[in-house]
Symmetry: C2
Subunit: 449 residues, 2 copies
């Protein structure tokens, strides 16, 4: 595919940038028209690339893009899953160039979605185009690009179940994850699940003057802080009752296998600018992010947060709290356990509301499959080294649901790197990974029969 | 004064509303021109009321309004202290009418500053006008209306020391506090001090994807919550080392005297919509807010606080934290103790910055003075009941400094009520209190010789 890339590079950038320029932030209602616009643009690009059918499907939420080229029902069918929605962009002031004005500098594409997941999905469209135009297509290809991944795919589960027949496939191919490094390519063989909740702690029924009431009234911010503090014990374990009941504990052998992935603690700390790490007692850093659950506050707010000083005891304080889950934790069950626990630890003098945002289950991928072997062979050829299996700490909420509905396993060929800072300012995608990804995908079809 | 009020009521409202319409929020740089405009308007109102001299004085911060009428240097001089700056207005959506469009409804004036302190200061201007126009003025009167009370009066201390001679007086008369209720009038005989700080807790040098890093990295929000939790122990005592060293402990007799103020716990809880109270062990609610120090988080923020969900471990989390102090705690010393303590409790993996916002010391007022007796007599005549001495939990940072610089005691004749929700949405001032206040002030001059 090298030659094809060389000849079409400029056009690839132009087409990808058209998509990147659309601010398809799924969590914001204000961007609803952008979601539709982005979906329609993808449909036209999929037709251009060679799809026989490409269509925007409405859902209960943001639309789904579906496209296909069926060459022979007897041949294996690959369903490519990706998403065209992106994370919010704040804090905007930390971006070096505007998030929706893509730019190439220092050998990388910079933009919100450059990697996650517009850039990674785009590699599949171009690998497909290459196979079609060069007459090399040997598989039936289906594309499912959704618009709600970053908000937990609330509508896609139902849509997939409603379109099971159309989506029937042998594997679900996904590029929406990272590999360890360019020198240590890896294939993800499992992901964590997610339970995401928002809590609201209310004290007095209005904001109070902190001088008049301070010392006598339960301050909801102080109360929220104490409640959050109590969620993780000194061993780094989550105190929600029943939280660990269903956690799949890995055998010593499995832990040894995963422990083979290279890890440099100093390099890891330097890359995020910290001088210490902390997590669950008895586990390594990679285990803490790969095979163990965790709890993080993703946002907190309450009281006066403007410039200067205001002496107030606020009426309400809020936090967004999420837990990463591992197989076999069920996110619905965990969300309920959390809500019950959080209400139970509220001190007298405040009331608590808990709202479930979204979630998904973790899953494992068999590494003994033909698809895994083909991906491994393709990546080894492109990178010159055999990829190692790894466990991703992130979540793609919908994959466990699709795996179940379509009776097909996902295969995660991710070409992102930690340096790409997805979800953060200055998201990027290295050009070398962008092109190696396309080549690996094209080769995958050669080895997957 | 009843007749004078009756005849001039409409004009009083019009004049006060002119002042209330100016959004003189001292904590916001954007409102700097409004500060000047408000000061100039007050100068013209003070001239109208009968001052011989009235002038806007620039300071290092917002301007001071000074006015005087000297009838005879041999007569006692009363310096009226007030402030024309107001608190911010957020959350704006909770106001029933816009904060800077004053309205009279249900027997009260509604606006930001209606009470604190434009409305209360205005009573003094009108009582002064009455005495001048009716030929009853027997005192030298000086007005000092500042523009930085709500931000801790950072410039006024120096300005007062620079103008000591001009400000020389026998008492400092202030209406910037509340009384217990219309049925239980009270005179404030002490206020708490204040130390206000802002803290910043930084973890990783950028926002991180909570899936990739969750479980291994110290989340600065979780860390901030734990640090805040540890600031108050289970007996409701502040854990900052050395915090209680200088606290003036009241004698049993003094506590018994203050305990005579009527207090209905259920009514108190109902008025703020809570079902439980909490504070320092061993003290009553009124003691907790009057004679004991306390610590409150006034604001907290960090991470993703927009609509929806974002799976992020933020780089930074912030909080505004203030402590109410009692005599003889010195706010500068307490701020330093807090900063040192807060840094010392930071877990590895985060760094901490602490910024001092502002502060002031608490003070006591002798209740055996002629001025107190005159105020008590005046209020008793207007309300039909003798007022009780009380201790206010709030702070007027500058009064301790003025007391020292001018060698004169403050006298706090406050006519606010808790229902007025100063510092909160829908700040108001009961018309009955507004007029009783004017009458009490006019009578005070009759009894203070």
């Amino acid at each position: 595919m090298d030659k094809y890339i060389e000849q079409n590079k400029e056009r690839f950038f132009n087409e990808l940038f058209e998509i990147l320029r659309i601010p398809s932030i799924s969590s914001s209602q204000a961007h609803k028209p952008d979601m539709q616009r982005c979906a329609e643009k993808l449909v036209s690009q999929l037709f251009e690339a060679g799809a026989d059918k490409a269509k925007v499907y409405p859902t209960d939420g943001h639309p789904v893009v579906y496209a296909e080229k069926i060459i022979d029902p007897a041949r294996p069918t690959v369903l490519i899953y990706g998403h065209y929605d992106v994370q919010p962009v704040d804090p905007l002031e930390l971006w070096h160039t505007p998030p929706f004005e893509p730019e190439i500098r220092n050998g990388a594409i910079y933009a919100r979605g450059a990697n996650d997941d517009k850039g990674q999905s785009f590699m599949h469209i171009k690998a497909f185009e290459y196979l079609v135009r060069e007459g090399k297509l040997r598989h039936n290809i289906k594309f499912l690009l959704e618009g709600e991944e970053e908000i937990g795919s609330p509508s896609l589960g139902k849509w997939v179940r409603d379109h099971k027949k159309m989506l029937a496939c042998d594997i679900i191919l996904v590029s929406d994850t990272t590999m360890i490094s360019e020198k240590v390519p890896s294939i993800n063989c499992g992901m964590r699940g997610l339970a995401y909740l928002e809590v609201e702690v209310t004290g007095p029924d209005k904001d109070l003057h902190s001088g008049h009431y301070g010392g006598a009234v339960v301050n909801p911010i102080n109360a929220l802080c104490s409640m959050i503090e109590s969620l993780i014990d000194e061993d780094g374990r989550i105190t929600v009752k029943g939280f660990y009941d269903d956690v799949m504990n890995l055998s010593r052998k499995d832990r040894q296998l995963l422990g083979k992935a290279p890890f440099d603690k100093k390099e890891y700390m330097d890359s995020i600018g910290v001088n210490a790490l902390r997590g669950e007692k008895g586990y390594t850093t990679l285990e803490r992010t790969g095979i163990r659950p965790c709890l993080d506050v993703n946002g907190i707010w309450g009281g006066f947060i403007g410039e200067g000083a205001k002496t107030v005891i606020p009426s309400v304080a809020y936090a967004k709290i999420s837990m990463r889950l591992v197989p076999n934790q069920e996110y619905g069950k965990i969300s309920k356990l959390f809500a019950k626990h959080f209400k139970s630890i509220a001190p007298k003098g405040v009331s608590v509301k808990v709202e479930e945002h979204h979630g998904g289950n973790g899953f494992l991928i068999p590494i003994s499959s033909d698809a895994y072997a083909a991906a491994s062979k393709a990546i080894a050829e492109v990178y010159g080294i055999e990829p190692v299996p790894s466990r991703g700490g992130g979540s793609i909420a919908i994959l466990a649901e699709m795996q179940q509905a379509l009776k097909a396993d996902p295969l995660l060929m991710g070409f992102g790197l930690e340096r790409d800072t997805i979800h953060s300012p200055n998201e990027s995608f290295l050009l070398s990974q962008f092109f190696k990804g396309m080549r690996s995908i094209a080769l995958f079809y050669e080895y997957f029969r």
